[in-house]
């Protein structure tokens, strides 16, 4: 029986022109707007090869300074010592893009409005070196030449705004796939179709799959069309298309399961849509959907909590590097969300169907 349920729900979702239009036009318009808005920023960042930065030591471990300089060279940041003078005057006189003042337990980064992108890059670099490179810098005391584990992606190769937003907004809309089911679910409730289902042999898991599978197929179809259109319109590079497709598909499934779970718990389409969009907005906020994750000042643990961050990072790295260590975490994260949300959704549906005496 589930075959017919899937088939007809799929037809219903695909015939809901409003939701299909949102899923198709949404990414196309948002990608156009954001990639255009951020193109200058990311282009200038892309154009940065190496840039000079001054530094001054108040009280700091020499090994840390040396390690910072070495990692900086690899990232295109050249450190020059200026022990004296007003920092502002030194920066202007020597055309420095930034300045770092090292103390015993802190460092201060000075940036210039004339070198905005270099300033952001320097802040991010220092944050990475100081927060993640401590262990390695201790090793430097014993071994003369060990590079700090500074992640390379943020510095080379750079990704342009069209590729970045072209990828992350396909990801973002994947998580909003529940919108495709709004027509079916509102009809079911409004016209008492839910009661027809209850007076039948259908189980809660069949009922769940009868909606979950069509949502995934509809969103996948919509996203495939949106992706092809955006690739043709904006020349977006997806790196490894097959692997990227698998990742996107898994995230569509996770988004659909999350939506179904919220619906079965709340029993309200309005609450479901509000909750899902809020959750996805926050996941995207931490995950690089709005501010690129490269320049994001969000705490790292918050970024890591967002499955959208893992997905964005995996796909962006696949696009610009051809490989990514985030592929595995994206797959695991998406599968875990799908399985857990599906189980909760089926259980919630069962409890609701059972009713209260």
């Amino acid at each position: 029986m589930i075959r017919y349920l899937i088939k007809n729900n799929f037809k219903l979702m695909f015939r809901n022109t409003w939701s299909i239009a949102v899923m198709l036009l949404g990414p196309i318009l948002v990608i156009a707007v954001l990639s255009s808005a951020f193109s200058e920023l990311m282009k200038s960042y892309e154009g940065v090869d190496t840039f000079p930065v001054g530094y001054r030591i108040q009280e700091a471990d020499d090994a840390v300074i040396e390690a910072t300089k070495m990692a900086g060279e690899e990232a295109g940041i050249l450190f020059y010592e200026y022990p004296q003078g007003e920092i502002k005057d030194v920066m202007e006189k020597n055309e420095l893009s930034g300045f770092v003042e090292f103390s015993e337990d802190k460092y201060t980064v000075y940036t210039s409005a004339d070198y905005e992108v270099e300033g952001i890059t320097l802040k991010y670099f220092m944050n990475k070196v100081m927060n993640e490179g401590v262990d390695a810098s201790l090793q430097i005391k014993e071994q003369a030449k060990i590079a700090l584990p500074v992640e390379q992606l943020e510095f080379m190769p750079a990704i342009d705004s069209v590729d970045y937003y072209g990828i992350v907004y396909i990801v973002y809309f994947c998580w909003c796939g529940m919108i495709c089911a709004t027509g079916v679910l509102s009809n079911e409730k409004k016209y008492g179709i839910v009661r027809r289902f209850r007076v039948s042999n259908i189980s809660e898991s069949q009922n769940f799959l009868g909606k979950f599978i069509p949502i995934v197929l509809t969103v996948a179809g919509g996203m495939a069309i949106a992706t092809v259109i955006t690739v043709l319109l904006y020349d977006i590079h997806w790196g490894k298309p097959l692997l990227s497709t698998v990742i996107v598909f898994l995230m569509i499934a996770a988004g659909a399961a999350l939506g179904m779970m919220l619906y079965n718990i709340s029993d309200s389409l309005v609450i479901t849509i509000i909750l899902q969009f809020t959750i996805v907005w926050f996941l995207g906020f931490f995950g690089g959907s709005f501010e690129t994750y490269m320049f994001s000042s969000m705490p790292d643990f918050l970024k890591q909590l967002s499955p959208i961050y893992h997905g964005n990072r995996a796909l962006v790295e696949l696009s610009c590097m051809g490989e990514s260590s985030y592929v595995a975490s994206t797959v695991i994260y998406s599968l875990a969300v799908t399985v857990i949300c599906s189980i909760v959704a089926i259980f919630a549906g069962y409890v609701r169907k059972r009713g209260k005496a």
């Binding site: 075959r3 809901n16 079916v184 008492g192 179709i193 027809r196 042999n201 259908i202």
Partner: protein, 253 residues
């Protein structure tokens, strides 16, 4: 007992400690067209919903074809054809797709499903229009499609919850004829409506329900005899108003 298709014993449903259905005891025999009448809020739809295992009873027992529909749902639910008061169809599906969807919920598939869809649509006079979207149908056609969606699995008990609301006399007449035809073919029917003349025309036995209880039950002639109105040509509506009162019932069921 073998002749009894539905029996409720002290069936009760309470919402917030208020009994909507209060110790209801009814017996419906195989082959009957059983009419359930009552003002708004009398508990008719709640009773139907409990019988169809949509709403869980607070207390009491339901025996449907010898089984408890709440405990042995899989064994008995496919024997029920439920026609809800609302037009429980998808406007964005074609007529045949609607019937296919709801008939398939009973495990019917393949050629058997195809035949059941065709038979159901033919039965309600919509076979010629099977390729049209339900949203483009008139009110009467939607009502007929609503019925077709509950017939495909060939149920033994048909439960009609006000199936003729808001349709023209031709469609109403057609639906009533089809109910009688289904009954003649062996189906037992439970029929709720506010239209007294409909109930009187097709029902073999009628129960009048108010405040969650059956206040009178019998053939239309027996009900008329219950009320001593002083004139012979008393209508079922007069009986109904005498038993349930003329006070407006403005609360929802």
């Amino acid at each position: 007992m073998g002749n009894i298709i539905l029996k409720t014993t002290d069936l009760t449903k309470k919402y917030n400690n208020k009994a909507v259905v209060d110790n209801l005891n009814i017996e419906i025999r195989k082959g009957e067209i059983f009419g359930l009448l009552g003002p708004n809020g009398a508990g008719k739809s709640t009773t139907m919903n409990m019988i169809c295992s949509i709403v869980r009873p607070t207390a009491g027992e339901i025996e449907l074809l010898g089984k408890n529909p709440w405990k042995q749902k899989k064994e008995v639910i496919h024997k029920i054809g439920y026609i809800p008061q609302e037009l429980a169809i998808h406007g964005n599906l074609k007529a045949w797709e609607n019937v296919e969807l709801f008939t398939s919920l009973y495990g019917i598939k393949g050629q058997e499903l195809k035949k059941a869809v065709g038979d159901s649509l033919e039965y309600v006079g919509l076979l010629e229009r099977k390729q049209e979207f339900a949203k483009n149908f008139s009110g009467g056609m939607k009502r007929r499609l609503n019925i077709a969606c509950a017939l495909g699995h060939n149920p033994e008990l048909l439960i009609f919850d006000e199936p003729t609301v808001g349709i023209d006399p031709q469609s109403r007449n057609f639906i009533l004829d089809k109910i009688k035809e289904s009954n003649a073919k062996g189906a037992t029917v439970i029929y709720t409506s506010h239209y007294m003349e409909e109930v009187e025309a097709i029902c073999t036995r009628i129960a009048i329900m108010d405040n969650g209880k059956i206040i009178a039950c019998g053939t239309s002639q027996e009900l008329k005899k219950l009320v001593n109105s002083g004139h012979e040509n008393i209508t079922l509506e007069e009986v109904f108003l005498t038993l349930t009162g003329k006070k407006l019932r403005d609360y929802a069921e």
